[in-house]
Symmetry: C2
Subunit: 398 residues, 2 copies
């Protein structure tokens, strides 16, 4: 039987990330593919206590809850926003089922078929997928190591009248880069000048290796009208319970909540309340500091492996935080082909092509350094080198 | 600042249910409005133990999980489907963030702007809202106490070529009615004849007062191609953790999962695993039997109050299960107006108008009997009668 699917889903196919996650679940594959935190670092005992507390207060948090989220949790989140210099109150916060839902709700609230948005190139794969499901035209803006290039941005704004500009300015996915202060200012100035919204996706800023935090765009948006901000507890606490949030102007939060109501009524009230107790009762900053230290050591170990292979094989920039090393191979290698050889060797990554809008740079790949131990990183990088050698050798033979 | 919202959300407004839930959270209002189970009946201790078990197995279930859901939970759900006579395997099950998300995902997968679907009249409010957000034309099919009228149904199928027919055939919301076997067969036969899909929303069938369960449409669909089925653990265990499921043909589940991936990646893996342990370790059927007995007593108590007010004021049919009494007032009263007087008296309900497509029957209202104790039901019904008296008295004065 053939089903009358909507046009929006007729074009979607399973993502590279998704297929890979499936492959790498089997056997002894060291996976640098997913953006997974290390589960051995999750604060399991503290979370167990927090969940216990939820049940000790009876059935209350097992009941239907408000679509906007647990009010106490929203209050805590809004305080954290304020600490980052972002003007925010409870009514500016919508709790979402992971920040993926925040992205989907923004698409639902803003994007009609045929609308245009601007993105970085490369950009976060799963956000692109979400936007594509709303039959949006996605236009990439030329960028360098410091962020979008202002001239290119203004040209694209004028040419396409985008609904919004979607950016991950701090430890971007996949590149792991940080936008400079100047580029952030230029983005805001141009958005203001041409009356365009900015969606700032900020899942990684807590995982920084330096003390100082880059100023979020939302904090530079002093009137709190131009930038819609989203983040998540997936990287700092755990991803399994799917809690993220949207912070933005009241009107946007109101329509986001109305859309969320018909999407899933609300995010698990059990998980929300447990997270609230966890954040209130435990020194979360100590936990995050520990994550930073461990992840930085792992990043350094992975980088050392890249460096050991000689200065000419790879190009990359040292990430200042986040979860990813973005690597270009200075050889005529398509990393989608390389992946097959790599999986045969027992290692996985995401080929860079998936993150591009338009013509991809097929010699790029994204490596995650947070999920595996230092020892596994070294072993996996050895396997990756072996796969590259094999692919290059087979090319010589051809 | 005015925001460039998508056309799909420009028309939506807060729902009556939503606004009411807000009102009734304050002060001493007895609410018959929401479709809320009684939180004092939640299996809190058993759930606490189930969650504890999740954490005792370490960080595993705090990690990202598969979009389709926890495999063991999907297996259990598919066994339950089989017990209902529905042919189903793991790959036919998608775990969703409540059955509301199942409805939203079906809309996302099937409905383009301008597509048509057929529904009962009245029908489930939050499903109508979800469908409207996809700019769908919703056409109501004439129904009586036994279900949609076959002649009317066929006429509408031919006139509108709907993408699917959405029904709640067992203890419908809001009417609490059960489709007869004959009407179920007629629906399937016509869907088959005209090659239309059926979406069977079945959240309430476990809450039946008689032993025998009406045969689900999905069980009558012997090839498992025509009916897409959705249900939830919100009514049998608890709604707060938001776990429902979609059961259907593999192709539909596959696209549903791809859509869900960009919607929220997956439903809380903590909650899913806890529910799995709960279902495996505890005699859930005993718990459901207890719910049935309590809810039936409450329904009887509420019905007795309606009857006591005299045989001519109200019309209703005794529900055989579910959560609602659907009542028509035999007086020139608009229940939306009545609601204001009722809230003043300290009682709330949902005016029937919200559930209609097209011209509403404004003298109808939906009363929930599961959330309040018998004593509170009697008190609340007293307040409702007082409100009706006041409104009728003021009409006489006009």
């Amino acid at each position: 039987m053939s089903y009358p699917f909507a046009t929006r889903v007729q074009r979607i196919t399973s993502s590279a990330v998704r297929d890979l996650l499936k492959v790498t679940q089997a056997g002894d594959v060291i996976s640098f593919a997913g953006g997974l935190p290390d589960e051995s670092l999750f604060p399991v005992q503290e979370l167990e206590m927090a969940y216990q507390k939820v049940f000790r207060s009876g059935g209350k948090y097992l009941q239907y809850g408000p679509t906007e989220g647990d009010t106490d949790l929203r209050m805590l989140i809004s305080e954290r926003m304020q600490e980052k210099g972002i003007s925010s109150h409870v009514e500016n916060i919508l709790v979402t089922t992971g920040s993926q839902q925040a992205i989907d709700l923004l698409a639902k609230v803003f994007l009609s078929a045929g609308d245009t948005i601007l993105v970085e190139n490369p950009s976060y794969l799963a956000a692109l997928q979400a936007f594509r499901l709303y039959e949006t035209d996605i236009i990439a803006v030329e960028s360098d190591a410091d962020g979008m290039i202002p001239e290119a941005l203004e040209e694209k704004i004028i040419a396409h009248s985008p609904k919004f500009i979607y950016v991950v300015p701090t430890f971007s996915n996949p590149e792991g880069k940080v936008w400079s202060r100047e580029r952030r200012e230029a983005l805001l100035r141009l958005a203001e000048k041409h009356n365009v919204l900015i969606v700032e996706d900020d899942p990684y800023s807590e995982l920084r290796f330096a003390e100082e935090e880059p100023v979020p765009l939302a904090a530079m948006d002093t009137e709190g009208k131009r930038v819609i901000y989203t983040s998540t507890f997936s990287k700092t606490v755990a991803p399994g319970f799917r809690i993220g949030w949207l912070a933005g102007p009241k009107e946007v939060i109101r329509l986001g909540a109305l859309s969320k109501q018909s999407t899933d009524l609300h995010t698990s009230s059990v998980d929300q309340r447990a997270l609230y107790y966890f954040l209130k009762d435990f020194p979360v900053q100590d936990h995050v500091d520990r994550l930073r230290a461990v992840y930085e050591r792992r990043m350094q170990a992975m980088q050392a492996c890249l460096a050991r292979s000689g200065p000419h094989l790879f190009e990359w920039a040292e990430p200042k935080g986040g979860m990813f090393l973005w690597v270009a191979i200075n050889r005529p290698i398509d990393t989608s082909e390389l992946l097959k050889a790599a999986v045969d060797e027992g290692v996985a990554f995401v080929p860079g092509a998936s993150f591009f809008t338009g013509t991809p740079q097929t010699n790029t790949l994204r490596l995650n350094y947070t999920h595996s131990s230092q020892q596994r990183i070294e072993e996996g990088m050895g396997r990756l080198m072996a796969a590259i050698d094999k692919v290059l050798a087979s090319k010589v033979r051809e």
